[in-house]
Symmetry: C2
Subunit: 229 residues, 2 copies
DNA sequence: CGGACGGTTGAGTCTCGTCAATAAGCGTGG
DNA sequence: CCACGCTTATTGACGAGACTCAACCGTCCG
C-alpha cells in the first residue's frame, strides 16, 4: 500500500501549484485519501457531491447509464487529473457516475476547503475558472464529434489526439491506455464498430495494430482519409 | 433604436447582481453595446475571444459547422442570458460560431473587466464558477441525450423541459421560441425527422400542434411513451 | 481443463438521413 | 388585390451507417 505526502502532492497539481505553502496547508484538513478496488463505485449519478477528486494512481471512469442498463463512458481519468470540480459549486446531484477502473488511490478535497481557498486568492479563482473552461471546451468538442462526425472520423480523431508529444516521429506510435471496449464507449461506438473501423484503417495501410499498440503509418493521409471515403 | 442603461442592466444579471454599485461601475468602462441584424455573424469558430456577451434583446445562436457546410445548433440564447464566458479564461480560439437570429442588441463585457472584478470579490468568483458549472451540466446532459437517447426521446425531453413554470395546468402549453428547423438542429435531428416525431406524438394523442404552439395532452403518458415504443 | 474476458467477424435489422415533391404562409411589388 | 418568390413545414420513397445478435477465437487464470 503506497502512501502519499498530501501537501507535496497538492502542490504539484496544476490547479493548486500557484498557492502559497500556507494556502496548501489550509487545504490539508479538508483532504483525505480514498482508496478503492477495480469496479467499486465512487459515486452514483444522482448522488449529492461535496468535493472534488484528484487521481494519485490508478484510473477512474465517468459514465452515464441508460434506462436499458447499457453504459456510456464520458471520460477516463488518469493519474494527475481531477474530476467533479463542477458539482461543488452547485447544490445539484451528480450528472454522472464514477467508478474505479483498477485499484486506485484518490484524494478528495472537500468543497469547503476549496471555497475557503477561493476567499483568499483571486489567482486560485482564475485557475479554477480556467480549469472548468477547459472542461467545457472538451465537452463542446465531444458534442461536435457525436453530432457531426462519422464513426470512422471519431476513431481517426481519437488516434490523432493521442499521438505522444515527443518530437516529430515519422510514424508515431501510441498505446491505448485502457481496453478497446472502453475506448469504443468513450467514442460512442459499439466494440464491434470500433473493431471494424480499425480494420478499415489497417486495410488502407494507414495504421498498424498489435493489441493495444497502434502505429500511425501515415499521419497526413490518416487526417485526410475521413473526409472522403 | 432602443437604448439601455448599462449599469442598471448589469445589476440585474444573475451573474452580477451581488456586486456592489462601485463594482458595477468599475465594469461599465469595459462594457459596450453590440447591435446586429438577423444573420450577421458575431464571431466565427476559431476567432480569438476576449469577452463575454449578454443578450439585451433579440436572439443569438451558437453553432458548429461541419466540413460539408451543414450546421449544428448548440444553443439558442435568449434575452437575459449570456454566452462566451468560458472562452475568456483561456487563450484559445472560440470552439463555436455565434450569429444573430434576429435584429438584436448585446452587451459585451471585456475579459479584463471581469478579471478585475474577480480580483476584488471572491463572491463574484463563486458566482462565475457556479455559472460555468451550470453550463457544464447542460453540456453533460446534451452528451447524454445525443449518445443514449433516441430521436423520439429527445423530442419528448425537449417538450417536457420547456413546459412553462406557471402552476400545474392539466394540459400545459408551450410555444416554440424559434422555427422548427432550429429546434431540430438543436436536438441533432433533421427537420424531416423532427416533423415525423411530432406527428407520431400527435397520432398517439399525446400532444396537439398548431404551428409553433404545442399542447401537451397528457404529460405522464408522454414521459412514459419514449421508453417502450 | 474450463471459464471469463477481450476482441473479431459475419449476417440481418432498424433507425435515421437523403432526396424529391408538395403545400402552406408571408412579404413584396406590380 | 393578386401574382410571385422565398421560407418553412410536411410527406413519401429510398438508402446507408451503425447497432444487434451470434458465433468464434485467443489468452489469461484459477
Amino acid at each position: 500500500m503506497q502512501t502519499v505526502d498530501i501537501p507535496s502532492f497538492l502542490r504539484h497539481q496544476p490547479l493548486f501549484q500557484q498557492l502559497s505553502p500556507e494556502q496548501i496547508d489550509a487545504l490539508v484538513p479538508f483532504t483525505h485519501e480514498v482508496r478503492g478496488l477495480k469496479g467499486q463505485v465512487i459515486f452514483q449519478k444522482g448522488d449529492p457531491c461535496d468535493g472534488m477528486f484528484l487521481v494519485v494512481y490508478g484510473r477512474v471512469k465517468l459514465a452515464l447509464s441508460s434506462a436499458q442498463g447499457s453504459e456510456k463512458v464520458m471520460e477516463i481519468i488518469h493519474p494527475g487529473q481531477s474530476f467533479a470540480e463542477a458539482v461543488m459549486f452547485l447544490s445539484r446531484p451528480c450528472p454522472v457516475m464514477a467508478q474505479f477502473l483498477e485499484d486506485s488511490m484518490l484524494l478528495k478535497v472537500e468543497a469547503e476547503g476549496i471555497l475557503q481557498a477561493l476567499e483568499h486568492d483571486p489567482a486560485f479563482a482564475r485557475r479554477l475558472l480556467a480549469g472548468l473552461s477547459l472542461r467545457l471546451h472538451g465537452l463542446v468538442r465531444d458534442v461536435e464529434r457525436y453530432s457531426i462526425e462519422s464513426s470512422l472520423q471519431r476513431v481517426i480523431g481519437y488516434l490523432l489526439q493521442h499521438i505522444p508529444e515527443d518530437g516529430s516521429e515519422a510514424q508515431p506510435q501510441l498505446t491505448l491506455s485502457v481496453n478497446k471496449n472502453l475506448i469504443a464507449s468513450r467514442l460512442n461506438l459499439t466494440p464491434e464498430t470500433f473493431s471494424r473501423m480499425l480494420h478499415q484503417l489497417i486495410e488502407a495501410e494507414l495504421i498498424m495494430v498489435d493489441g493495444r499498440d497502434i502505429t500511425l503509418v501515415n499521419v497526413d493521409k490518416l487526417k485526410a482519409y475521413g473526409n472522403r471515403e
